[in-house]
């Protein structure tokens, strides 16, 4: 008995000892910078090393919120997020259902869908940039030779054509992730439900709406949250494919530019806080939605 109590105390002490290093690292690299970002957001803080930082109240926030570039970045990010996440969900579910069926070559399919996911985003962006090159790109050559387009298009030159291309790249890259999560969700559905459905004469389409979709929805919601949060902070694809001068910035690109190009930690931090609030709003929205429909 004494030995057991002794063991419990030792385990407890060890737990603290083992958790401490990770807690320390997380405090240094996440908690401290987060607090600093809130503090800087109320300061005039130029990173030129000349002007000393000073408190300016809400000036940085009013600067960002009255900047038309910021609002265009918000619009771009929201359009990108909504369109790409919807497409990724629909395609992801399709791919997951195909990968969940039994057929020859199933392993090939599963490896194939992992390839776009594993390729670095910068590389995918460069590869697609090459594919949609105005003169030598394979997309233009094929579309032009098939007479689908009357002349070759400089896809990335204007926001109206660049945004669909960027969404396509993201859909290509992120659908596999969606599909893999949904596949794991599909595998949790008991097989006898489908057998019972078939016996009762339900068609495959009816089985999809009555069994598959409702039972995969919890997984779908988790995947949606992951993807939405990811899409709201999109940086790499936009930065690499259209740069910072194409009039097609996102919230994250705007933020990074304030910091790196204008060396303004004050405005940069205020932007970060606003982005954090936008992301929180989406999280609240999702939790509300999932509660009302599943409890």
């Amino acid at each position: 008995m004494i030995k057991e109590i002794d063991l419990y105390a030792r385990q407890k002490r060890l737990a603290w000892f083992l958790i401490a290093p990770s807690v320390l690292v997380v405090l240094i690299i996440i908690a401290y910078p987060t607090i600093q970002v809130f503090v800087y957001s109320f300061m005039k803080y130029k990173l030129d090393g000349v002007t000393p930082p000073s408190f300016v109240g809400l000036d940085n926030y009013s600067f960002v919120l009255t900047d038309p570039d910021w609002w265009s970045a918000v619009t771009n990010t929201l359009v990108f997020t909504v369109v790409s996440v919807i497409l990724e969900s629909v395609l992801g579910l399709t791919v997951a259902m195909v990968a969940n069926s039994k057929f020859k070559g199933r392993t090939i399919l599963r490896v194939a869908i992992l390839v776009p996911w594993a390729i670095p985003t910068v590389v995918s962006s460069k590869v697609w940039q090459w594919m949609v090159n105005d003169i030598y790109g394979v997309v233009n050559i094929v579309l032009f030779n098939l007479h689908i387009i009357p002349q070759k298009i400089a896809w990335l030159a204007t926001p109206a054509t660049a945004l669909p291309v960027i969404i396509a790249v993201d859909v290509w890259k992120a659908t596999p992730f969606m599909a893999l999560l949904l596949l794991a969700g599909l595998q949790l559905i008991p097989k006898d439900l489908y057998e019972a459905g078939s016996i009762d004469g339900a068609t495959k389409v009816r089985q999809f709406w009555a069994i598959t979709l409702p039972l995969v929805t919890p997984t779908l919601l988790v995947a949606l949250v992951f993807r939405t949060l990811d899409a709201l902070r999109v940086f790499d694809i936009f930065y690499v494919m259209v740069g910072t001068k194409g009039g097609l910035a996102t919230m994250a690109v705007y933020n990074q530019q304030q910091l790196v190009s204008f060396l303004d930690a004050g405005v940069g931090s205020a932007t970060s806080v606003i982005i954090l609030i936008v992301i929180m709003l989406f999280v609240i929205l999702y939790t509300r939605f999932s509660r009302t429909s599943f409890e």
């Binding site: 590389v123 999560l181 949060l229």
Partner: protein
């Protein structure tokens, strides 16, 4: 039971009558299904193959509108490996991603052992916090990190990058490894404790070897995430000798500002991608397991 039997029994004549028609229909469906499978595979792999093909094309053929090349060349690969910037960035990426994985697994797995197996009062809140942090948007602390790295004299260093990469690798590692430790049967350690082993010995000699598959999954995912990272590498390094591969590839420039050296870019892209594609093929099962453990169980 009897109702099912009757229902099935009643249905036999109708289905038998429709067998021939149903066979034709199911064959069409079968073909459509395979068309879909092939479409998915082609859509997923085509950009990769196109980049691969482009990386072997001679420059004069690259800038022509012909789709199928007449000849293939290794010129672009020779070119990128002669470029000291690219070679240095490869070395940097290996060091940064490698160190990140080792530190994240080292610190993260002992923390996960404590959270998954040992008595600890704030277990619930800590786990919840860890899960929240796996989804933390890096952009939100960019300026805080920028100033911090400059103060610590870690700006434009590989150490600085490793430190910031722990932001997205540590919470993930702790979360997934905690799930692994929890899934191991309790009897394993009880027997060892009865024999008088210390908790640390139980962790090191009994539990850790059993979580090897988990360590492989999380290590691979952390490595891929660190290897592919762009925002921090772009923002926190300025000189060529500190840049990582994604940054250098994004900044490749040719003789003229208007035409990029596409052959070299594609060759460099393939050099950083092919190892990943091979990893994916070999560890397909482990990667999927790690990816879904991070989300579905949450």
């Amino acid at each position: 039971m009897s109702t099912t039997k009757t229902a099935a029994g009643l249905e036999v004549p109708t289905t038998a009558g429709a067998t021939k028609k149903a066979d034709g229909k199911s064959r069409v469906l079968r073909i459509l299904f395979y068309v879909l499978v092939i479409a998915i595979i082609v859509f997923n792999l085509f950009p990769f193959f196109w980049a691969l093909l482009s990386s072997f094309r001679p420059s004069n053929e690259l800038f022509s509108t012909k789709l199928i090349p007449n000849e293939l060349t290794l010129d672009h690969y020779v070119e990128v490996f002669k470029d000291p910037r690219f070679v240095q960035s490869l070395i940097n990426s290996v060091i940064v991603a490698g160190s990140t994985v080792l530190i994240a697994l080292g610190l993260g797995s002992v923390c996960a052992y404590a959270l998954g197996r040992l008595p600890f009062r704030f277990k619930g809140p800590v786990l919840y916090l860890v899960l929240t942090m796996t989804m933390f948007p890096q952009i939100a602390i960019l300026s805080g990190l920028f100033v911090m790295l400059r103060t610590l004299a870690l700006f434009n260093t590989r150490q600085g990058l490793v430190l910031t990469y722990l932001i997205f690798t540590m919470p993930f590692t702790i979360w997934v490894m905690t799930q692994y430790f929890r899934s191991l049967p309790k009897e394993l350690e009880e027997a060892a404790y009865v024999d008088g082993a210390s908790p640390l010995k139980v962790f090191w000699e009994i539990l850790l070897p059993l979580t090897m598959p988990g360590l492989v999954s999380t290590g691979l995912l952390a490595f891929i995430a660190a290897w592919n990272e762009f925002l921090f590498a772009l923002t926190f390094t300025i000189t060529d000798n500190m840049k990582t591969v994604p940054v250098v590839i994004s900044q490749f420039t040719g003789a003229s500002a208007f035409e990029q050296p596409w052959g070299a870019i594609m060759a460099a892209s393939m050099v950083v991608t092919i190892p990943l594609v091979i990893l994916v093929m070999v560890f397909q099962y482990r990667i999927v397991e790690g990816l879904t453990a991070g989300a579905v169980k949450g």
